[in-house]
Amino acid sequence: MKEIDARGLACPGPVLQTKAALQEGSLNEVRVIVDNAASQQNVQRFLESQGFVAVLEQAGTDYVVSGNGNSIPAVQPQPAMESHGDAKKIMVMCATDRLGFGDDELGLKLMVNFLRTLKEMGDELWRLVLVNNGVRLAIAGSEVLDDLKAYEAAGLKILVCGTCLDHFNLLEEKGVGVTTNMLDIVTAMQVADRVITV
């Protein structure tokens, strides 16, 4: 476990220190000490955005956030976070849970493989959008649910079509991603440098 003393730092200092510590090594447990409630909540938000479970406590004038990330793979050195820097923004849209036409069993396998290999895009992978049958990839029992969760924990934004979930009666089953609407999807398409539709 690593302890980070970020007392005396104004926002966004404590978040930056925590981020740097996570990038340095693959930490599973971290304890961050700050001196005000705003910084405490910011560090909590940051750790949660990285897939950690954060617990808050107050000790005298110190505010402490304890983060546990055991349930997820180690944080990538450079998560594909929203800052995105100058990296190209690639949006991948899956309108199906199977890759290609023909044999469905093969198609399912290929899709699993496709999603697991997507990480090779690195920083450029910016949005994963699931529509129509694609939303089935994000629900409880999906073979790639854990993979998608790992992507999300590493900072990838996964958008899941709300209309589609509703249509298949799967709203309650969604296990990963943010429920989205057509306007968000169209806006993402417009902002993306490249859109890949599967």
């Binding site: 966004p12 978040v15 705003a38 909540q41 560090v43 938000r45 976070m81 929203e82 800052s83 902002v191």
Partner: protein, 316 residues
Amino acid sequence: MTFPTDENVIIGLERADDAGVYRISDDLALIQTVDFFTPIVDDPYWFGQIAAANALSDVYAMGGTPKTAMNLVAFPAKTMDLGILRQIIQGGVDKLKEAEVVLIGGHSIEDKEIKYGLSVTGLIHPERVLVKKNLRPGDHLVLTKPLGTGIVNTAIKAAMVSAQLVEKVTRLMAMLNRDAARIMEDFEISACTDVTGFGLLGHLAEMVKGSGCSARIVSSQVPVIPEAEDFAAMGLIPAGAYKNREFREQMISFAGSVPRTLQDLLFDPQTSGGLLISVGEAHCKDLVSALKDKGITEAARIGDVVEDQKESISIV
């Protein structure tokens, strides 16, 4: 504390508003305001523009026309290149030119930290002063600029913002509220303020308090800088946003469906934010389309004033 006053004070500290208003004659009043701050962007020229747009905004929010301005400057002249100060002031001057306001003086002091701003004087008809506290039940609420500049500025400090977004947000902060204020003149406006340090909900709370009515905000309709939501999710939120929430918590309620990041944006302190306008229901649509026609493309109806004496704000 009691403040010196006389019968010509229309808006003074007793009922603080965006700016002070003082009657000169039956058909003319002075509007006066002052604002200055430390640099919020790295580029000195743009900082000057933003500081000027921000200072002018209070006059626009009162429904007035700014006429003259004076510079307020604090600068470490011994240790820093005077060229930087020149660029800051050039930014301010160019923004004043755009607003057709003259610079007639100013004052500068030596300081460790750069500070720049202006005092601005404007004119208005005493009967046409737009105060904050005049909401009427049934009015619609319109916001003219997207929220999120505080969060994005925090993310800029964390070096996590693309050059493209820095430019977009800088332009947004430097954008005058003049056109929005001129358009308001053609409509039946009950109340207006500009959204700055207290965030949207903090400034709305000021409007609601003492009005005898309540407000309802539809969060999905509130214009925001989309990237700001992602930064908020990562904890890049200025401490002011938390203070704004804490200060007004008792009068504000959120529906469970409003995401936390969007709540953060509603409390995010804005620099040179947009106007928050309470307009008669019959005029709202035309006001919003007039704003959009004039290039204020993100203007939107974000909610309504409701007849509820609790003086609360509910967000769905």
